[in-house]
């Protein structure tokens, strides 16, 4: 009767095999449709400007991106290689969301530890989270300088939502699990380490998903203002000299960076959830 016994493997029936085939076909169909959307988008982007239905000066087109990319790979005295720009953006993003996670966990733990502190800070956190942090880009530039202001924006834009998400994850831990630990005489520190933190791992992954994306936004916006390095700067520069090829190449690389980040977090999530 137990779940373990019910997992016993039996020889698959023909109906089951047919069902499996349908499942697989459905899965392939989804993938094919996803690919088709991408292809249609790229074809339209290529054809419409070429046919002069839209102005190519405004949109550039996909086939122009590769030559532009190769061009931008070269580093000149005036301009760093696009790889250097990409690295600067990725580094600032990783620093931003790592900082937001570390700070988020620490602050959420403090709020959990001292309920009074949470009660006092709650309205400030909510308002700080709702504030458009990008309004601070010019001030950060003045306060922190070119490089640090980008890290600062990357952190500022993601840290408040991270604190709020992780704290609400801590609050969501079943109080009976905490009571159980208390019956063994657990101290508050032990409850945090053995119950609250490990029990919040799914929340931590969810928070990472949100704040990694936000950090990238913070970095790019910061680079618009202050940098001479980074994809945000490259996009800003390209638009100022009206070279859409450069702008679109920068945006495409941002899209690839986001996708890779999403993939990495999905892998992490799958690895973590295997234990649950």
């Amino acid at each position: 009767m137990s779940k373990v016994e019910s997992m016993a493997v039996v020889a698959p029936s023909t109906q089951y095999l047919a069902w499996l085939r349908r499942e697989r076909r459905g899965h392939l169909l989804v993938r094919a449709a996803q690919l088709a959307i991408l292809v249609v988008f790229l074809v339209l982007w290529e054809v419409l400007p070429k046919a002069l239905i839209v102005n190519p000066v405004l949109t550039s087109y996909p086939s122009a991106l590769w030559p532009t990319f190769v061009e931008l790979l070269k580093s000149t005295p005036q301009q760093a290689s696009i790889l250097t720009h990409t690295w600067a953006t990725v580094l600032a993003t990783v620093l931003g969301f790592t900082g937001a996670m570390v700070l988020g966990i620490a602050v959420a733990a403090a709020l959990w530890w001292w309920n009074m502190l949470y009660k006092v800070l709650d309205p400030y956190l909510v308002v700080a989270n709702a504030m458009p942090k990008t309004a601070f880009v010019p001030i950060f530039y003045i306060w922190l300088g070119a490089t640090m202001s980008i890290y600062g924006m990357s952190l500022a834009i993601s840290v408040f939502i991270t604190i709020l998400m992780i704290y609400s994850g801590f609050q969501g831990i079943d109080p009976n699990k905490i009571k159980l630990a208390q019956t063994f005489g657990a101290t508050k520190g032990q409850i945090l380490r053995k119950v609250v933190l490990p029990g919040s791992v799914p929340t931590l992954v969810a928070a990472l998903k949100v704040n990694a994306g936000l950090s990238l936004v913070g970095v790019v916006v910061g680079e618009f203002q202050s940098a001479n390095l980074g994809l945000g700067y490259l996009i800003q520069y390209g638009s100022q000299i009206f070279k859409m090829n450069i702008v679109m190449t920068g945006i495409t690389i941002l899209a690839i960076v986001s996708s890779l980040m999403y993939l990495a977090i999905s892998w992490l999530e799958a690895a973590v959830m295997r234990r649950r």
Partner: protein, 267 residues
């Protein structure tokens, strides 16, 4: 005979215990003037309607709650906090889904800073005895409800408490598993000579498992009555719960307790 044992040295003693919960709307009196003495090795059931403070009573004995009035004593000493002498089985297993069965069983030992090599040996011994030997490294979600509750029992007994508190430990199980597990757990606790205090609203469970049943009144909970449950058997030993349910005395006790509880429904 039970009376003399109690007079000698009670394992657990509640002296005029009262508990009030404080809220912004006012005070709620959960328990009032409770005096109970429990002898070493005794198996006592406490029954009462929901909300009568049964579970609160266990929290007081376990030391995670302090009484507002009176005193709770274990081995003659006032309870000041959770003690290693007391093990607590909650209404559900509350196994940590991120820990394996063995790691879950070791939770108490870990928290209490026990010798982990010894605890590990004891935990796997207990789990094997409860028929879970092949699941030591499985995760809780891979186990059925009855198996999970047996893991919870192993977790409670792994720290070797003298006193085991059972707070409706079968409430979440289906009725067959419930009967079988009540039987199993009673046999285990008796064999290990634990002092056991079971809280339940199931009269049959109380009568079949315990040798003494205490009825609590409605809120604020007070001791309404205290019944010794005895079965005449050939060898004079107490029958196991499943056998007790078939004993001729069972229905008599059941009806007496039923009437005591029903008074509250009408009142």
């Amino acid at each position: 005979m039970a009376a003399s044992a109690i007079a000698a040295s009670p394992k657990v003693e509640l002296r005029d215990v009262g508990l009030r919960y404080f809220g912004l709307e006012g005070e709620t009196e959960a328990l009032k003037g409770i005096s109970i003495s429990i002898a070493p090795g005794e198996f006592v059931a406490i029954i009462g309607q929901s909300g009568c403070g049964k579970s609160t009573l266990l929290s007081l004995i376990s030391g995670i709650l302090m009484p507002t009035d009176g005193a709770v004593l274990v081995d003659g000493k006032p309870v000041t906090g959770p003690s290693r002498k007391v093990g607590y089985m909650l209404q559900q297993d509350y196994l940590f889904e991120w820990r394996t069965i063995l790691e879950n069983t070791l939770l108490g030992a870990e928290i209490q800073g026990a010798d982990m090599a010894k605890a590990r040996e004891r935990a796997s011994g207990l789990l094997t005895r409860y028929g879970l030997g092949q699941f030591l490294h499985h995760l809780p979600r891979q186990l059925s409800g009855g198996m999970r509750q047996r893991v919870a029992l192993a977790r409670t007994l792994c720290t070797e408490p003298d006193i085991v508190l059972l707070d409706e430990p079968f409430a979440a199980l289906d009725s067959q598993t419930r009967l079988a597990l009540a039987d199993e757990i009673t046999v285990i606790l008796r064999r290990e000579k634990k002092t056991a205090i079971l809280v339940t609203h199931d009269i049959g469970e109380a009568v079949s498992m315990a040798e003494r049943v205490i009825v609590l009144s409605r809120r604020p909970g007070r001791v309404k009555s205290d019944h010794a449950i005895r079965f005449a058997t050939a060898d004079g030993a107490r029958p196991n719960p499943l056998a007790a349910r078939n004993a001729s005395e069972f229905n008599g006790y059941f009806n007496t307790l039923w009437q005591e509880l029903e008074v509250h429904v009408e009142g």
